[in-house]
């Protein structure tokens, strides 16, 4: 039995990841060839990939079930790292955002790590809750929901005040996905999401009925000025060509001009800031057009499809919840990142998993994949049972 446990390496998932990383390295290479300010990033991305592969191997050593023991310590560590931005000496403010630690020349963004910590703690809490409660009723729902919200909100708020709307929405997405899957009954979920929807919709209504009043309220009464800018720019980009909407317009131009099959490798015409990180999708879309962009989206879809399949096949509820939390993280980031560059959503700074350049984020996403592979590799222990069914 133990032998079988170690054998299951998911080639499908690994192939998908390697393909996306390959596209990432190639795209960074072409950017470096075209613009000297992007030179050399592809090499560093390769190094980070190798480093994170070691991380994946390390994560796979321990049975994923044992990570439940670390769930609370990791969560507390995460909260500490986020809160520490306000009092630890290494905290580093850049562009008006208190988001990083800086050690010498390397920077570290704790909000990247805590995403995975949140997945682990929520998966653990939901599993424990279901182990204790055999019958489902309103009390069951409310207590579980209360736990999830109580765990999520501190993290959400700590990230939101950095401010980093993008990452805080990722936190909400993870929680949201896990609420759907946690066992809470549909009627409670519908009520919860219904309420949230009404609140968001009324905010939008407020904005569209009296845009100026709404925006000035945000600008004057809250610390989310840049959110207001971006919403304005998203609504009517051509009014803001030199500021916040510049990036949105440039990325639309770059992607659009790729047309069906693109301009060919290294043929860039549009200068976009941050093109190697958050805006990397525009680089693929400009060079390889609709065909290339679709390949990226399909690869991501296959990635998520595979993780959900693993979630379905595993017989350990903890494993399923981990997978779904990770799916929640990836889905939101992918949808948000690509969506913002084609004007489906307002701009927020979020990397595109595996494709964007960035050491910390790549390490974190690879760690998440490490967890999934871990779950997958321990599936066979229940082979006989599934055969019986």
């Amino acid at each position: 039995m133990d032998n079988q446990r170690q054998q299951r390496v998911d080639t499908f998932l690994i192939t998908t990841i390697v393909l996306i990383i390959g596209i990432s390295v190639f795209t960074l290479y072409t950017l470096g060839e075209a613009y000297s300010s992007f030179e050399g990033y592809y090499k560093r991305q390769i190094i980070w990939f190798i480093v994170s592969c070691i991380g994946v191997a390390a994560i796979m050593v321990i049975d994923f079930d044992r990570y439940r023991k670390f769930a609370w310590p990791l969560y507390i560590l995460g909260i500490f790292m986020l809160a520490g931005l306000h009092f630890l000496p290494w905290a580093w403010e850049n562009n008006g955002a208190l988001r990083w630690y800086k050690f010498g020349s390397t920077t570290l963004q704790p909000s990247e790590f805590v995403k995975v910590f949140l997945v682990v703690i929520l998966a653990h809490v939901i599993t424990s809750h279901n182990e204790k409660w055999s019958t489902k009723n309103l009390k069951y729902d409310l207590i579980l929901l209360g736990k999830i919200i109580a765990i999520t909100i501190p993290m959400f708020l700590l990230i939101a005040i950095q401010p980093d709307i993008g990452s805080s929405l990722v936190i909400l997405s993870i929680a949201g996905f896990l609420i759907v899957i946690s066992g809470i009954r549909w009627r409670t979920i519908v009520t919860l999401f219904g309420t949230a929807f009404v609140i968001v919709a009324s905010l939008f209504l407020l904005y569209f009925s009296n845009p100026e009043g709404f925006i000035s309220f945000i600008e004057d009464e809250t610390s989310f000025d840049h959110v207001a800018d971006r919403i304005k720019a998203w609504d009517n980009p051509h009014l803001y060509t030199d500021g916040s909407a510049m990036q949105a317009i440039k990325s639309m131009m770059a992607i659009g001009s790729g047309q069906l099959s693109g301009k060919g490798s290294m043929n860039y015409q549009v200068w976009i800031p941050e093109r190697h990180t958050d805006m990397i999708f525009t680089a693929v879309a400009e060079q390889f057009g609709f065909v290339g962009s679709s390949v990226i989206i399909i690869l991501y879809f296959l990635l998520i499809y595979r993780i959900i399949q693993i979630a379905l096949e595993t017989k350990e509820p903890f494993g399923t919840y981990l997978c779904v939390g990770i799916v929640g993280m990836f889905t939101y980031q992918i949808f948000q990142n690509i969506g913002m560059s084609i004007q489906l959503l307002p701009l927020t700074g979020l990397p595109l998993p595996f494709l964007s350049y960035g050491g910390t984020s790549l390490l974190v996403y690879m760690a998440a994949i490490g967890l999934v592979l871990n779950i997958r590799s321990r599936q066979k222990s229940f082979m006989f049972e599934s055969d019986n069914q």
């Binding site: 000297s36 030199d242 047309q259 015409q269 200068w271 989206i297 979630a311 379905l312 509820p317």
Partner: protein, 694 residues
């Protein structure tokens, strides 16, 4: 377990619901992508073409050149320039307006470049209504360009005369403004800009869209003119890229008005000298104003060249050639009435580095000397006996003669051809070495005869020739660089005048002439390569004018070494070492042993030189003259310097052996300079020691 199962029962359904939702989200992405890229893709491209696709390239100063000791040879002189960088979609009216403002601040006295068409265009712009009122109502229905053409044709001289001098300046400025391409800096004026002019324009730049003051550069040759025409020239800004190579340059990201090397080393090393332009991408809004400029690639000056030439030695040798030409002409004005040039090259036989390359031409009308070092590479002359080393080696290696074999030096008589003999008498029966020392023609003839299949000489018999001798001898010569490209790092070199170019097929009698350097003409650099090959033990090395390339530096000092040009061995002469040693010994005896043809000039030299003299009959204007040549190297046992020189058209019968005199002085100059520098170094290091002691 049962509990777990129950607990999990809701999972598959909910996972599928989630999965479905994700599927919808991703479909939404693809749908929107389709809208953006396929439905509106062409609009986006059109928008880019209108606003975005704008890069500017700012040229950097060209790289400099230094001599082998780090002395500057070619520099850039920075000077003030007024430039114009047009915004997008600029109209002729805009340029006119700018020109009219600019004329108040700058002088544009040079209006020669203004064409009649420029004046006409200007007049029409200023007198639009009057000009177009000359059209009949019928003509007004024609297309705009046709109407304009008719208006141009109807302009009178009177109209043109109405243009004032100040207006001419406006036209001249506008003409420059019109030549600029959008967002690329164009120099309007860079000659004679005064400090005041510069300051005034800088002050008013804000009211002159696109106008700015900056610095421009101009090529300056230090030590002009000794190497000037070898270094070559670059095109000026109006010429831009040379027409014949335009596609070559455009495919390498040059702009049409870039200045590029059009001759000499400037052309040969163009890819290194040019440097990398600063490239900026401009981000514009929909009305064409530049919002932001992004640096795409930083500019970098090209790689500085360190020439192999030693400037001090070069000047010395220029001087020697001038003085000796002058002396020869003064001493024998009548005999030397055709002498007008001398070429000499000095090189390191082991590396091919050219230490000095001098060509002096004397203009008899102006009584002036001109520096024309390119003649060393271009000017082919009959070399005479200097090539005999190659002939002897051809004989030895092909086996037609044995080492030490003797031939009697007697006048050769052939039936049906003129007699052939040596220049000097009483040579006796020389061996191969003696034949070099005393320059026996007969010995070389016998070698050539045997190569052509005529083995034994019997007086008054016809010369027989099997038709192969020329090719065999020519192949040997080419192994030493005679009659083939030397591979020098220069855009052009002559291969000489080959026998096969002169007559076809080459006859036996002419092969005999070739063996004594009396048939094929070679350049001085070919002779230099030939003697270097003998000096260094058989390696034919390509001569080099550039020693190494340096990275640009911001100080007066040379930057770090970017690339060292390694010696290029073109071929190794394949023959027994002892044959080469015999020729080297022959060359030594020419210079050092009594009876050697140049021994009276060289036997007292401490640096133990070796070499070979040459005299060739050359006809000029029907008069028989002598080309005097000399090749050599020193010291004979461990050569560090090789040289070749030729003075064409000296008078017959004059006793001024200009070739030997120049050769001696050249070697003296080289070793004196070397000694001087060694002493200097020693002294300076002694000084250092002393100062340390203090």
């Amino acid at each position: 377990m049962g509990e777990k199962k129950k607990q999990k029962s809701h999972l598959p359904l909910r996972l599928n619901v989630l999965f479905f939702a994700i599927f919808i989200l991703f479909s939404l992405l693809i749908l929107q992508l389709g809208v953006v890229q396929i439905l509106h893709g062409e609009d986006a491209q059109a928008e880019i073409d209108r606003t975005e696709n704008v890069t500017s390239k700012t040229p950097v100063p060209r790289a400099k050149m230094y001599d082998r000791n780090g002395n500057l040879i070619v520099d850039n002189d920075l000077k003030y320039a007024i430039t114009y960088t047009p915004p997008r979609n600029v109209q002729p009216e805009d340029n006119l307006e700018t020109a009219e403002k600019l004329v108040n601040y700058m002088n544009m006295e040079d209006t020669d470049s203004v064409t009649e068409r420029d004046m006409k265009d200007y007049w029409i712009l200023k007198n639009r209504e009057k000009a177009f009122s000359r059209l009949s109502s019928e003509e007004l229905t024609l297309s705009d360009s046709e109407q304009y053409q008719i208006v141009l044709d109807r302009m009178t001289q009177e109209d043109l005369n109405s243009i004032t001098d100040e207006e001419m300046e406006v036209i001249a400025i506008k003409r420059e403004l019109d030549q600029a391409t959008q967002l690329t800096p164009h120099v309007i004026k860079n000659e004679g800009i005064s400090k005041e002019e510069y300051a005034i324009i800088a002050e008013h730049a804000h009211e002159l869209p696109g106008i700015s003051v900056s610095t421009d550069w101009e090529r300056v040759k230090v030590n002009h003119p000794t190497l000037s025409n070898l270094i070559g020239n670059i095109t000026n800004r109006n010429e831009g890229l040379p027409r014949q190579d335009i596609n070559h340059y455009l495919s390498r990201n040059y702009s049409l008005n870039d200045r590029v090397g059009e001759s000499g080393l400037e052309e040969e090393y163009e890819p290194y000298l040019q440097g990398q332009k600063e490239v900026r991408q401009h981000i514009t809004n929909s009305s064409g104003e530049v919002i932001k400029s992004e640096l795409v690639r930083e500019g970098e000056r090209g790689k500085d060249l360190m020439l192999s030439v030693d400037m001090e030695l070069q000047k010395e040798i220029d001087k020697i050639l001038q003085e000796e030409l002058q002396a020869a002409i003064t001493k024998h004005p009548y005999e030397n009435r055709y002498v007008d040039r001398a070429m000499a090259v000095m090189m390191d036989p082991d590396t091919g580095e050219v230490l000095a390359i001098s060509g002096q031409r004397y203009d008899r009308d102006k009584k002036e000397f001109y520096d024309e070092p390119y003649r060393v590479l271009y000017d082919a002359q009959l070399p005479g006996s200097a090539v005999k080393g190659a002939t002897v080696l051809a004989g030895l290696d092909s086996g037609v003669i044995q080492p030490g074999e003797r031939f009697r030096d007697q006048r050769l008589q052939f039936k049906g051809s003129p007699d052939k003999g040596s220049w000097t008498s009483s040579i006796g029966s020389p061996t191969d070495i003696d034949a070099l020392k005393k320059s026996s023609n007969v010995y070389m003839f016998r070698v050539a005869m045997r190569l052509g299949g005529h083995w034994d000489y019997v007086p008054k018999q016809p010369l027989s020739y099997n038709g192969e001798g020329y090719q065999i001898l020519s192949n040997y010569f080419k192994q030493f660089g005679l009659g083939t490209k030397t591979g020098v790092d220069y855009p052009y070199e002559a291969t000489g005048v080959l026998g096969s170019d002169r007559v076809s097929p080459v006859k036996g009698y002419e092969v005999l002439d070739m063996a004594i350097g009396q048939f094929e003409a070679y350049t001085t650099i070919q002779l230099g390569q030939y003697v270097s090959t003998i000096a260094n033990g058989g390696y034919r090395i390509a001569p080099r004018l550039v020693k190494q390339l340096h990275n640009p530096s911001n100080t007066e000092e040379l930057g770090s070494v970017y690339q060292v040009q390694k010696p290029t061995i073109l071929n190794k002469v394949e023959m027994e070492e002892q044959y080469l040693n015999r020729v080297q010994e022959g060359f030594r005896q020419v210079f050092q042993e009594s009876g050697g043809t140049a021994s009276s000039y060289f036997n007292d030299a401490e640096y133990k030189p070796a070499g070979k003299t040459g005299t060739a009959q050359a006809f000029i204007e029907g008069v028989e003259t002598n080309n005097l040549s000399l090749v050599g190297y020193a010291p004979y046992d461990n050569p560090e310097v090789a040289f070749a020189l030729i003075v064409p058209y000296t008078g017959q019968g004059n006793e001024y052996k200009i070739n030997n005199i120049i050769g001696r002085r050249m070697l003296d100059a080289y070793f004196e300079l070397k000694e001087e520098r060694e002493l200097g170094n020693k002294k300076s290091s002694e000084d250092e020691e002393e100062s340390e002691e203090e």
